[in-house]
């Protein structure tokens, strides 16, 4: 009979992780792929107080096992609007009540809703093991579709947003073929810092349009110095050349490229006042 543990102490959890236990958080990715029960020894991280909740004392620390509902309902600076909007679009209420932000980053689907909003926040992930703790930028952590820089003995314990990234205001847009419970065709996260009406910092990320979600430096450069009113018109489709969308059952590659561009322009055109 495989083992199951739900420790309350992080040290205990890391020891079990070092012993090869599989990590279970919200279960929204593990169970759909499983039979009647989960295979292997299971480390359930949902009772670890260190991994749950948001802490704004020094930048923002989000415990890896924080559920989407907690994020959506927290009182957070406007820079986090994109993440909160994304939190309300991860599955339905049932999934938001179970699924965790860390799970989203470990599953690392190209269409993971949590990644673009975190990319525009310059997020870092905190990875812990019995021997060390390290921080890696989210961009470096996501290596390929469903492949992340996480050693077999490590646990993703938190996401850190640095203080400067809490500046400004953000927005998130997700395009799918139906209203709820949808896997994105394309998604966009934007964070803008403005002085009066002029953009002094632009942070833009797009998901589901390349192997891993990515920041778009050309778009960010084009927006730099623009006013909020003319931001949308600054974007040209060749600014999105770095995207490498694919054809799949949800859309064609060509459509994804167009949709990313249009979503971005729409998201820039409204709601920044």
């Amino acid at each position: 009979m495989p083992a199951y543990a739900r420790p309350t102490d992080l040290g205990d959890a890391l020891a079990l992780r070092a012993a090869g236990y599989r990590v279970l958080a919200g279960g929204t990715d593990l169970y759909p792929a499983a039979g009647a029960r989960l295979a292997g020894d299971i480390l359930d991280i949902t009772a670890l107080a260190d991994l749950d909740g948001l802490d704004l004392r020094e930048g923002l620390r989000i415990g890896a096992a924080t559920r989407w509902t907690t994020i959506a309902e927290a009182s957070l600076p406007p820079a986090l609007i994109a993440l909160q909007q994304a939190a309300r679009m991860v599955g339905g209420r049932q999934i938001q009540n179970a699924g965790t932000i860390g799970g989203n980053l470990c599953n690392a689907s190209p269409a993971a809703d949590g990644i673009p909003p975190l990319l525009v926040l310059d997020a870092e992930v905190e990875l812990a093991s019995t021997t060390h703790t390290r921080r890696v930028s989210l961009l470096d952590y996501i290596k390929a579709p469903r492949r992340v820089d996480l050693h077999p003995n490590e646990l993703l314990t938190a996401i850190h947003i640095p203080v400067p990234a809490l500046q400004g205001k953000s927005a998130f847009a997700k395009l799918g073929a139906r209203r709820h419970l949808v896997i994105s065709i394309a998604m966009v996260a934007i964070r803008l810092v403005t002085v009066v009406d002029r953009i002094t910092e632009a942070h833009v990320a797009i998901g589901a349009c390349s192997a891993t979600p990515q920041r778009l430096p050309l778009v960010e450069a084009a927006l730099h110095g623009a006013t909020l009113t003319d931001a949308a018109s600054r974007i040209r489709s060749d600014h999105l050349a770095a995207l490498s969308p694919i054809d799949d059952i949800r859309a064609t590659a060509e459509y994804r490229r167009t949709a990313a561009f249009e979503l971005l322009r729409m998201a820039l055109a409204e709601g920044w006042g």
């Binding site: 279970l24 279960g27 759909p32 299971i42 359930d44 309300r88 073929a177």
Partner: protein, 890 residues
Amino acid sequence: MIFTLNGQPATCDAAATARLSDVLRETLGLKGTKVGCDAGDCGACTVLVDGMAQCACLIPAARIEGANIETIESQTPLLTRLRASFLRHGAAQCGICTPGMVMTAADLLNRTPHPTPAQVETALGGVLCRCTGYRKIITAVAAANTAGIEPVFIGNSVGQPIPRLDGAAKVAGDCFGADYAPVGALIVKAIRSPHPHATFVIGNLADFKARAGIAAIFTAPDIPGRNAFGVIPAFADQPAIAASPARFRGECVALVAFEPDADPDISDFPILWTPLPPHTSPAAAEAENAALIHPERPLNCLIEGRVQKGNAAFALAHSAHVATGAITTAFVEHAYIEPEAGAAWMEGDTLVLRACTQAPYMDREDTAAVLGLPPTRVRIIPSAVGGGFGSKLDVSLQPLIGLVTLKTGRPCRMTYSRAESMASTTKRHPAEIHGRIGCDAKGRITGMEFEGRFDTGPYASWGPTVANRVPVHASGPYLTPHITAKARAVHTHGPVSGAFRGFGVPQAAVWQETLYDELAEKAGLDRLEFRLLNALRDGDASATGQVMRSTGIAECLTALRPHWQRALAEAGPHRGVGIASCWYGCGNTGLPNPSTIRIGITRSGQVVLHQGATDIGQGSNTVIPQIAADALGLPLSALNLIGPDTALSPDAGKTSASRQTFVTGRAAHAAGTALRNAILRLANAGQDSRISLQDGMILIENGSIQRKINLSDMPDGTCGYALYAQETYDPPTRPLDANGQGSPYAVYGYGAQMVELLVNPALGTVKLLKITAAHDLGRVINPMLAEGQIEGGIAQGIGMALIEEYIPGRTDNLHDYLIPTFGDVPPIESLLIEVPDPEGPFGAKGLGEHVLIPTAPAILNAISHATGARITRLPALPHRVLEAMQKARP
């Protein structure tokens, strides 16, 4: 684990990572929590964990230690109010999603006691429903905490919005196919082909069987009877367990029966597959020298149906305007939230099968034939059915569990996984349709040429019905003097295509109704007025030469006219309005399809209605009793119901072809009338007498005259009843001849729908704003259930139009196969039209399939109106809409 369950302390033993849904159902015996997908995609298993709605299928059992779990079995004042509201508003149809809906709503109402409709939509967005179209659920939840006045129904029950009589069970968590397990039942698992076409060799079964927990293994040679089933006996060709080669992905090739407590693991079943090249499309299957899937069917053609009247080519050549077009549609999955499930056991010599089905007597025939038994040795008890929509007309697991029980003598049960259900059961036929329609200078339709090719998969299923029904309906409800319409069903190695709400007619309507828009434009006519001009009227001959009567299409279009004019005035850039009509013949196409209804009164004064029409959510458990009660002249509450069961109720035929309200309703009307007449004869009383029941007596009153029949004095007569009537009704039809001429249906229903929508010009996404649906029901037996059918059919039409495309091996789950969610169905206004048909009970016509037919073409016509884009391939996913818009730009 020690925890709190529905307010009471509870303990249980379970594997730590067993799914909570399984623990609740199997260990604790609480079967009200339903399992629809085991993946968090459908929300059916929603329970409250410390007050928060969560999918029980994603929660490890060990995590409930110390938690407070609430399930649908909980009895709180809030849940009581929610259940009552669901019933009062008609928010439960089949009932499979209802427990999940109610529990999710409880979470919302605990946070927000009086939510807005938008808040309900967002909060419940994680639960899928395939029956209702969601609108009545939104109403029920929003109103749950508002004191409602319980409606009181007096007088005749026909015409009244009576809540469904089987509703209390639905809102409590009904007993579906997976919810009853005989003690000691073996667990049956199927080995299925992972390839669309492959030979296979089964390895050493003795070794596999030797492992602990395996009770028996069966393969094709173990089938004692004819290893070929099929809904149409002459075409029965589908093996219950296939011998090599397998002909579609998901085909069953072996069964393993496990002991009840064993781990039913079939992952290393010894079988060696050799894939063969599959026919992946009808074009490939019809190509020269293409290998034949059935050697006796040349060109892989199962059948071709045709309707030929006049000279269409000549008429088109002399038409003022001609519209030419082609469309293709996708496989559509029924996606009922209840995967196939059932149990089998022996009662003496009789094999009893309790499973989800739409057709108990057909199941009995097919299963008996496969098992080599006389039908009298098989008893079919339909479970509550968690949605069917056509796919549960064919047998699925019935012969499989029947075989296991017959061979082992032990009870068994089987529940399909979501993936198994999607891969192995039938789909809507993908269609490729092309042709031309012409009209004269005034806009009168002159002629039509129609050719349809339907991908029927490797086995016949309902392919012949689709091929015959489509040409009959190809014209739509419009006078078409000259027509040549042909539809053929072609075998491929795709999924088996079968019946799905409309039998191919919705696909044909997409073609014809979008072309009619083009024709109206060419003729310079308003699109509604064009349809009204051409609408079939009483006395007109249909494409099959049938002289029409009680023709309600003009009334439907006329009822839509003010809405249409309002909507046209409100349309503008990227905001469009579309319209489409439907007609649909109720019952089998030119073939007998009788229904029999029995009513008896016992010596103790109990009136018993044997209501054999299987209720898959559409409402026959309510509508048929309403008809019977009024015919008999007793209040609805006087009837005790015995449902479909081949041992207890006579054959009311299959729940398909929109026939139950009409055909079984007529039988119920006849039986009720016959019993009433028998009572009046006994009392020597006139037709206008009033009858009532009182203390084991029947009271007959006529003015001041009062007579009594003392039932206890009477002998037990037929079927144990003191008084008894049994009547059969079979619609009078005339079969189609070689040219498709005849009177294939005794009754037709009509409808027209209008769609208002917005298209995002940059993204090609479609936002539906409102759908207005006018349907001629002849006589509305139950307006609340009728609206429920309309809203649910429209939701499925929306799915077919905009999002649904089943891709074998790629979309066998409910997150890649998308069906409409709460936010995808706009407000719907139903206009119930009554043009009584003398053949229907109280004038009633069928409705169940009609409601889906106009939706998709009306959406496409509205997209075209909004943008100029002509969509020719379904579903109209955003990328296809955008591409069509780009093509349409000058």
